[in-house]
């Protein structure tokens, strides 16, 4: 695993894209094909299943470190990453051996099925043969997400330079249902795509915001000068659901989420219409909670997402529908290079032929050649439970990943209230050991009621100041959370608001974030719960 540990270290040591690509290429050119595919699996979020639960892992590993549990927890707060914390606390060993990445992963998969005694002795034994950097990698493999801070684009770029295959092709081949044990490096870089994976989705095409932030409003004139005639654009509402790709091939159906998770079983009410689609059909769209011909707020859909089994009651009370807005494959042919307009015609044809139009809906086009009209329609978004508008160039192909130019999202401005910070907690990763996660409250009479947590929206300099304030104005500590003297006021923006029985304030916000620090306001001037509740109407 030394090569893999070195890869990780070298990636950490540079901020330059080209340098990162070079480092990845160096790794790929120096290890076995098994280690190559393992690395690609890990870098695209395909980790071995956890062999040891994290409580046991921590307990056993700490036996080697001789520090008390509370000190471990406080160390974790400082470091902000479990694997890194453990690797820093354990003694580094003298005698090392160098097992390959794939050997380690084989062992991890094997011991998962063994009893605790075996697991423990395997763990302690393994830890005595590694450098600190290897230990860090090892714990990364054994714990939560394997996030490396390297975008898939860079991995694809390196792979593309080695294999002479086009990045879009490689991105596509790396999507879907594979694991290191079911896919080989040679298949991945073969000239002809040899896959038999009928579930494989296409990479999603993602839009950029046309307004970078809500403070950078764009006027109709600015839009026109940037984007040209409104007539060149297909405008639709932007729905607030789960982006999904629906696939029907060889009489089988697959539903993929944007995060490349297979979610077919989570949406049984979509199965009948999908079964009716011609084989070789791939649709792009949004899954929404939908009842009585109306979309429902996102939190209704949320009640279904986390569940293992869907009760009849849930299916009856919170049904879903699919709003289609694109088609990438038709009768088995990849039609992503056709124009938006042409794909739209095909989509309309597929949808109008469906006998299940209550579940298989189509995203309506806002017909106009006037930017002013679109601006007015955008203002209606919130009433329609939409997040704003989508603008798609009629001549655009269906592209890979987030690209500027042809797809734009034009979101509505967020709702906002002024609130007081009352709790703070340290962040993780780049924000470790700094107070960056805050809880905000509004007034209910003379009491402050917490209603939202947010941890983004401040500049670096502001974060430093708030961190400084928190450290000097802590009233109480509850584990990692500090109760802070109520004083600082922030404007909190959010996309939507819903009733909630789970929160003290009685409301749950969608995407809360800090819009700005109101240094001009005293805490008495913060908004009240009443103001917040009025948004519910």
């Amino acid at each position: 695993m030394k090569a893999f540990a070195q890869l990780f270290l070298s990636l950490d040591e540079t901020n330059k894209t080209n340098e990162k690509v070079r480092v990845i290429k160096d790794y790929l050119l120096s290890v076995s094909d098994e280690d190559k595919i393992q690395m690609l699996a890990l870098f695209t979020g395909r980790k071995p299943k956890r062999p040891i639960n994290s409580t046991q892992l921590k307990e056993w590993a700490l036996e080697l470190s001789q520090i008390p549990d509370w000190l471990f927890r406080e160390s974790y707060e400082v470091v902000g990453d479990l694997a890194e914390t453990l690797s820093l606390l354990l003694p580094e060993s003298e005698n090392q051996e160098n097992k390959s990445l794939s050997t380690w992963i084989q062992e991890i998969n094997k011991i998962r099925k063994l009893n605790d005694e075996f697991k423990k002795s395997w763990l302690l034994n393994s830890l005595q043969k590694m450098t600190r950097q290897e230990m860090f990698m090892f714990f990364k493999l054994l714990t939560g997400g394997f996030r490396v801070g390297v975008s898939q684009n860079l991995v694809v770029k390196a792979l593309s330079e080695i294999s002479n295959l086009d990045p879009a092709t490689l991105t596509h081949r790396m999507m879907g249902n594979w694991e290191a044990s079911t896919f080989s490096y040679q298949d991945l870089i073969a000239k002809e795509d040899g896959t038999s994976d009928i579930s494989r989705p296409y990479p999603f095409f993602l839009a950029y915001p046309i307004q970078e932030t809500s403070e950078k409003q764009k006027s109709v004139e600015e839009l026109e000068s940037e984007l040209g005639k409104a007539d060149d654009w297909q405008a639709e509402f932007k729905w607030d659901g789960i982006r999904a790709q629906l696939i029907k091939r060889a009489d089988e159906i697959f539903i993929w989420s944007r995060g490349e998770e297979l979610a077919t079983e989570k949406f049984p009410e979509l199965h009948p219409f999908m079964m009716y689609l011609p084989n070789g059909t791939v649709l792009d769209g949004e899954i929404l909670a939908f009842k009585n011909e109306q979309p429902l707020p996102f939190n209704i859909l949320q009640t279904r997402i986390g569940r293992k089994t869907l009760s009849k009651k849930i299916l009856r009370e919170n049904p879903v529908a699919f709003i289609a807005y694109d088609v990438m494959e038709f009768y088995g042919e990849d039609i992503r290079s056709k124009s938006q307009e042409a794909r739209r015609k095909i989509l309309e044809q597929i949808q109008s032929a469906s006998p299940h139009q209550d579940k298989f809906r189509i995203s309506e086009i806002i017909q106009t050649n006037d930017w002013n009209f679109l601006a007015q329609e955008r203002e209606r978004s919130r009433d329609l439970l939409a997040e704003g508008l989508m603008l798609k160039r009629k001549s655009a192909t269906y592209q890979v990943g987030r690209k500027r130019g042809d797809w734009w999202k034009w979101k509505v401005d967020p709702l906002s209230v002024d609130a007081v910070m009352i709790y703070a907690q340290k962040g993780h990763g780049r924000r470790a050991d700094l107070y960056t996660d805050y809880t905000f409250a509004v007034w209910d009479g003379d009491k402050l009621v917490p209603f939202a947590k947010a941890y983004s929206g401040l500049t670096d300099a502001e974060i430093r100041k708030v961190d400084h304030f928190v450290k000097r104005n802590t009233l109480e500590k509850f584990g990692p959370v500090r109760t802070v003297k109520a004083e600082l006021v922030f404007e909190i923006g959010f996309e939507g608001i819903n009733k909630s029985t789970r929160h003290k304030s009685g409301v749950a916000l969608r995407f809360p974030r800090i819009l700005r620090w109101r240094t001009d306001k005293k805490m008495e001037e913060a908004d009240s719960l009443e103001t917040l509740l009025q948004f519910l109407k």
Binding site: N15, S65, L71, V78, V79, G80, E84, G149, D433, I463
Partner: protein, 342 residues
């Protein structure tokens, strides 16, 4: 009546009532004894200063014409029956632990310290005492330093590599202590060392004080890009990202600090390289230093005081947190290291 402690913490600093003097006071007082020249310990405005001989020029440089008396390690002064003796703290040149003794009771104020011999300051020497007033900037077990020889091997390899790539290497470290420690350990066979003005001034002060330093060149308006190419520049962290750095393009930027031990802090700083190099004791260093004093009571002035005092209590010490204003020099360094590019 309970006996008044020999040293106490009041609103001005660490106070000895019997001797009527302060150690590292943060508000103007009559009589100040100074552990070392960093600005959070040596403040402006006291009527009289007592400091180590090697702090003389830096104190004049930073504080102007003060009324200053100096003495060497092992030397003593007596104030109203209270004996004050300096012992090396190993933090930066001139840094002293201050032993305060009265009627058989001994207290030691550590100031800032590290236990590793860095080659430029007199190495840390443990002093037996009843009560020890210690810093604990890095008082968490995740902070464990490598021997400096290994760190500098890494730094010199990095410089060589950047030179091969046709780049200028820029190393950030605070100006008093860290910068000179870096300077004395660079491999001058690779190239020349340039300095930022702030570092240059500290170097000059130390040289006036008789400390020998390797040759450096001050960067001025006349310095050209070509002169810098392939060489190394030492600058304070505050210079990073300022227009002053334009001349160094293309450059690679390394940051020398104990905070670089944590990946998150390193990533936030967006340094090309983080080198874990600190002038403070690490976890093991703090614990071994405290054990070596054979003290019963430990007061912790700055750093992870809450966690560290709890740990010391669990291993049998009477450990207490003391509220002071120290740690700002490091904190500034730390916050700079932590806060940028979040």
């Amino acid at each position: 009546m309970a006996k008044k402690p020999l040293l106490e913490f009041n609103q001005n600093g660490i106070y000895c009532a019997q001797g009527d003097f302060y150690i590292d006071p943060w508000r103007p007082v009559k009589d100040a004894v100074i552990t070392h020249g960093h600005s959070d310990h040596a403040k402006w405005g006291h009527q009289k200063y007592l400091a180590h001989t090697l702090s003389r020029e830096i104190l004049y440089h930073r504080l102007g014409q003060i009324s200053l008396e100096t003495m060497d390690y092992g030397e003593s002064r007596i104030k109203n029956g209270v004996k004050i003796t300096f012992y090396p703290a190993g933090h930066i040149p001139g840094s002293a632990q201050i032993k305060v003794e009265y009627q058989g009771e001994i207290w030691v104020v550590s100031g800032d310290y590290k236990t590793e011999d860095d080659g430029i300051c007199t190495p840390f020497e443990p002093v037996k005492c009843h009560s020890f007033i210690s810093e604990c900037t890095f008082g968490m077990p995740v902070y464990k330093w490598q021997p400096q020889a290994e760190v500098f091997k890494g730094i010199n390899e990095w410089w060589q590599q950047k030179q091969n790539e046709g780049k200028t290497s820029v190393l950030a470290g605070y100006s008093l202590g860290k910068a000179q420690r870096i300077l004395q350990n660079l491999d001058l066979n690779i190239g020349k060392v340039f300095t930022h003005g702030v570092i240059h001034n500290s170097n000059e002060a130390l040289i006036r004080n008789g400390i020998e330093l390797n040759p450096t060149t001050l960067i001025t308006v006349l310095t050209t890009k070509e002169e810098l190419k392939g060489n190394i520049v030492i600058c304070p962290p505050s210079a990073i990202g300022t227009p002053w750095m334009r001349k160094m393009n293309p450059y690679s930027f390394g940051y020398c600090s104990g905070w670089m031990a944590i990946r998150g802090a390193k990533r936030r700083r967006a340094a090309d390289r983080g080198f874990v190099l600190s002038d403070h004791a690490d976890w093991d260093g703090l614990i071994s230093a405290i054990k070596a004093t054979e003290c019963d009571t430990v007061y912790l002035t700055h750093g992870y005081t809450a966690s560290f005092s709890r740990y010391l209590s669990e291993i049998g010490y009477d450990a207490r947190e003391a509220k002071t204003l120290y740690g700002n020099e490091e904190e500034n360094e730390a916050e700079e290291a932590k806060g940028e590019n979040l």
